[in-house]
């Protein structure tokens, strides 16, 4: 389940040789529905469609502990308790709809090459939901494409996040302790 758009995702899926279906969620529907603010996430769903386990942030098939949970679930055993979320979704329903609407409007504007207006909408969304790393990265991709193509500059992302959090604290957006941004 990919969160940026098909063109950006395709090389990763091909490189991984994924045999499972990959879907694209460019409007952030799952983020709102499941209430997560960062990826990578793993969610286990049983045969009846009930969510049995979820790890939001830092889920990886390279982590033995995560793989063990999945294998237990496949064997028919209880997957165990889900990790506690670092930063549970705390927005009220009205704010959440506002964030989602602004994200959607931003993506529409971006698709019409009205990038400045798109970023304005995304910034407004981020101000409402400053912990949301998905929105923050969307802005970065628009503003600093050279940090994402041809390769992703992870060191820059960490530095940029630190800079932005300092600015936000100075502006009083997230309080004296900053915004609790989950970092996968």
């Amino acid at each position: 389940m990919e969160h940026t758009g098909g063109d950006a995702a395709r090389p990763f899926v091909e490189q991984a040789g994924a045999t499972f279906p990959t879907v694209v969620d460019e409007h952030g529907v799952t983020s709102t529905l499941l209430g997560f603010k960062a990826v990578p996430n793993g969610v286990l769903v049983d045969e009846d469609g009930v969510i049995r386990w979820a790890k939001y942030g830092g889920f990886s098939i390279d982590k033995p502990a995560d793989v063990e949970v999945v294998e237990r679930f496949l064997r028919g055993e209880a997957p165990g308790p889900s990790p506690v979320r670092d930063a549970p979704y705390t927005l009220g329903p009205v704010e959440r709809e506002l964030v989602e609407t602004k994200l959607r409007l931003g993506r529409l504007l971006d698709s019409l090459n009205r990038r400045d207006e798109a970023v304005t909408e995304w910034r407004a969304a981020l101000q409402l939901d400053p912990e949301n790393l998905v929105i923050r990265k969307q802005i970065w991709v628009a503003r600093y494409p050279e940090r994402f193509h041809p390769t992703i500059d992870w060191d820059w992302q960490r530095e940029q996040l630190t800079r932005e959090r300092e600015d936000e604290v100075a502006a009083g957006i997230c309080g004296p302790d900053g915004c609790p941004v989950p970092w996968a």
Partner: protein, 44 residues
């Protein structure tokens, strides 16, 4: 889709239809009867 409630562990995953990368659509309700691992990631 607009929804005010966050779906959590122990609740039923709402039905969703999302576009597949290889074309067509995937409807989650069509996957009932199977165990699923949903892996969410971003290319950034």
């Amino acid at each position: 889709m607009m929804t005010a409630m966050t779906t959590t562990v122990g609740q039923t995953l709402p039905d969703l239809t999302l576009p597949r990368l290889d074309g067509g659509e995937l409807r989650f309700a069509d996957l009932r009867g199977k165990k699923l691992l949903l892996f969410m990631w971003g290319s950034w």
